[in-house]
Symmetry: C2
Subunit: 311 residues, 2 copies
C-alpha cells in the first residue's frame, strides 16, 4: 500500500490573486469543480480580504459555498480551504463554510510590513486570536499557519534557520493545528529546504505539515523532492504554475500541480489525483484567463507511456 501525499491546489487563491485579470465567478466554479473531480484532496479556493485590496477575491464566500457542495457530490475526500490574514477574515471564512483556514505569517519584518501591515509578532498574536475564536465555535475548523518568506525575502534577503524556528515554535504555541513553510518568493534550494524542515521538526514535530513552494528559479520540483526526503507529506501547488511573485518580475508562480503529481505518483506515493483529468482542467483555466502564461512540462509533452500510478 503506497504512502499518501496530500496535494493542495492553491491556484484559485495564490494564482488568481497575483494575476491582474479577474476570472469570472462562473468560470471559477467550473474550474474548482473540475479540480475536485480530478480528485484533489485539498483546494484553497480563495482568500477573505477586503475586495478593494484584492478584487480578484471579492467572490470568495460564494466560491467557498459552491466548492463545499463538491464534497457532497463528486469528491467526498475534498477539504475546502480558504485563506484569512486576520480574525475578521477567519470569521468570514468560517461563516462561509470553509473546512480549513490558512493564515500567512511572514518570518521577515520587511515582508510582514509590506504584505500584512503588521510586525511579525503582531501577526503571531493575531493567529492566537484566530485559533482561540475557532476553538470556541461549534464546527471544528483546523488552521494551517504558513511561515511566509521562510527561504528568503526580497526585502530582507537571506533568512537564518533560527528565525524560521522561532516563528514556527511561536505559531505552535499560539494554537496552530498545522504549520507550513512557504518559499513565497521562490529563492529556496534543496539544501536549505532540508535544513529548515529538519530544524523546525526538531522543535514542533509533525505539527510541521506542509511546504508551499514557488518555481521562481527552476528549483521548485527539486525542492519538493528535498521536502519529501525529509518526510513532508503535504505540498501546495497550482495548476499550470499559475501566478508569479509580486516581488520578482518575470517569476513563474507556484510549483506546477501536474508536474508535482507526476513526481509523487511515479516515485511510489499515492495522491488520489487523476493526472489526465488534472491536465484537462487546464482548458477551463485557459478559458478564464486567456492571456496568462501557463507553465508545466508534463502537460506539454503528455503523460509518458511508461507512467504507472502508485498502487
Amino acid at each position: 500500500m503506497a504512502e499518501t501525499v496530500v496535494v493542495c491546489e492553491v491556484g484559485p487563491r495564490d494564482g488568481l490573486q497575483i494575476v491582474k485579470a479577474i476570472m469570472p465567478t462562473a468560470v471559477k466554479h467550473r474550474w474548482i469543480a473540475a479540480l475536485a473531480d480530478a480528485g484533489l484532496p485539498q483546494i484553497e479556493v480563495g482568500s477573505f480580504v477586503p475586495a478593494k485590496l484584492l478584487p480578484q477575491m471579492a467572490d470568495t464566500a460564494e466560491i467557498v459555498r459552491e466548492a463545499v457542495k463538491r464534497t457532497e457530490t463528486s469528491n467526498p475526500n475534498l477539504t475546502v480551504v480558504a485563506l484569512a490574514p486576520n480574525l475578521r477574515g477567519a470569521q468570514a471564512a468560517y461563516e462561509a463554510g470553509a473546512q480549513r483556514i490558512s493564515v500567512p505569517v511572514s518570518v521577515t519584518e520587511g515582508h510582514s510590513r509590506s504584505n500584512l501591515n503588521r510586525s511579525v509578532d503582531e501577526q503571531i498574536a493575531e493567529v492566537g486570536r484566530i485559533t482561540a475564536w475557532l476553538r470556541a465555535q461549534p464546527r471544528h475548523v483546523p488552521t494551517e499557519i504558513a511561515c511566509s518568506t521562510a527561504f528568503g525575502c526580497s526585502f530582507d534577503g537571506a533568512v537564518p534557520v533560527a528565525t524560521v524556528v522561532r516563528v514556527a515554535v511561536a505559531l505552535a504555541e499560539a494554537g496552530a493545528d498545522a504549520v507550513a513553510l512557504a518559499d513565497t518568493v521562490g529563492y529556496g534550494n534543496p539544501l536549505e529546504i532540508k535544513a529548515k524542515v529538519r530544524a523546525v521538526r526538531q522543535e514542533i514535530g509533525d505539527k510541521l505539515y506542509c511546504l508551499h513552494l514557488h518555481d521562481t528559479c527552476g528549483l521548485g520540483i527539486a525542492n519538493a523532492l528535498a521536502g519529501l526526503e525529509e518526510g513532508i507529506r503535504k505540498f501546495d501547488s497550482a495548476l499550470a504554475g499559475l501566478g508569479g511573485c509580486p516581488f520578482a518580475p518575470g517569476a513563474s508562480g507556484n510549483i506546477v500541480t501536474e508536474d508535482l503529481v507526476f513526481l509523487l505518483e511515479s516515485t511510489g506515493f499515492q495522491t488520489g489525483i487523476d493526472l489526465e483529468k488534472l491536465i484537462a482542467a487546464r482548458a477551463i483555466l485557459r478559458e478564464g484567463l486567456p492571456n496568462e502564461p501557463m507553465y508545466g512540462n508534463l502537460a506539454r509533452a503528455g503523460v509518458p507511456r511508461t507512467f504507472r500510478r502508485a498502487a
Copy 2:
C-alpha cells in the same frame, strides 16, 4: 573548499540537432565563445554524422577547430567534446581536434534500430573499435559512452535496471573511459535515477561519471538532485533547455543549464561558471534561432539577491 561538479553544455549538439532551423556557423562560433567565456568546463559542440542526415551538424569540424582556440584564450579549463556514433565519426572528431568524444549506445533495441540502425550489441562492438583506434593514436582523447534510453524508451517502454547494468558493464569492458546514463526521452524519475545509478556504480564504480537528463515531464532538475545525492558529479544540460525529443511531441529539451548551475552553486558545489554571463549568452542563441522556444525559470526571474556562489 567546495566540491566541483562538471557541467557539460550540450546545446550546440543535442539542442541544435533536434530543432529544424539551421544556426549559421558564424553564430555558432559566437555562441560557443560566449559559453566558453562564461566558464563552462565542457561544451559538446557538434556531432560527426553525415550532413545529409543532420544538415544542422554539417559544419562540426570547423566548429571544433574554432572552439579549441578558446582553450588557449578565454577558457584554459575548457574541454571541447564532440559526439560520434561510429568509428568513422570518431576518426573525424579526432582529426578535427576534439578533446573528448562521446558515443551513444541505446540500451533498448527499438531506439537502437531507429537511431543508429544497429542492434545494441553491434553498437557495443563499435565502441570497442573506437576505443581501440583512439588508444593507438598519438594524442590522448578519452571517450564517454552514453547509455541512451536508460530511463525509458518511447519504443520499448520501461527499462529494467538489469538491462542498463548489462550495457554499462559491456561498455566498461569495451574500453570506455567514462560511462553516462542518459534519460533520452525524459521519462525518468528521482527514484529510478537513484536505483540505476546505484546498481551501475556497484558494477563499474566511478567509471559511471555523468547523467544526461531531459526535462520532458518537469522532473529534470529534481532528477539531477537525485543524481547528485547518489554522488554523480557531471551533468549534461543545454542553455535555455534547447531542443526537445523527436519521440515526444511538445517535450521540452535538455535540462536548463542556467537552472542546473543555480541548483549546484546554491547547494554548495563549485562549477566555475559565471551565472550572469551564462544568462547573457541566451541573447546569441535567440539571435541564431529566432523562432525556437527558450526555457528556464532563473533567466526569466533573474538571479535572486540571496544567491551566493559556492566558495
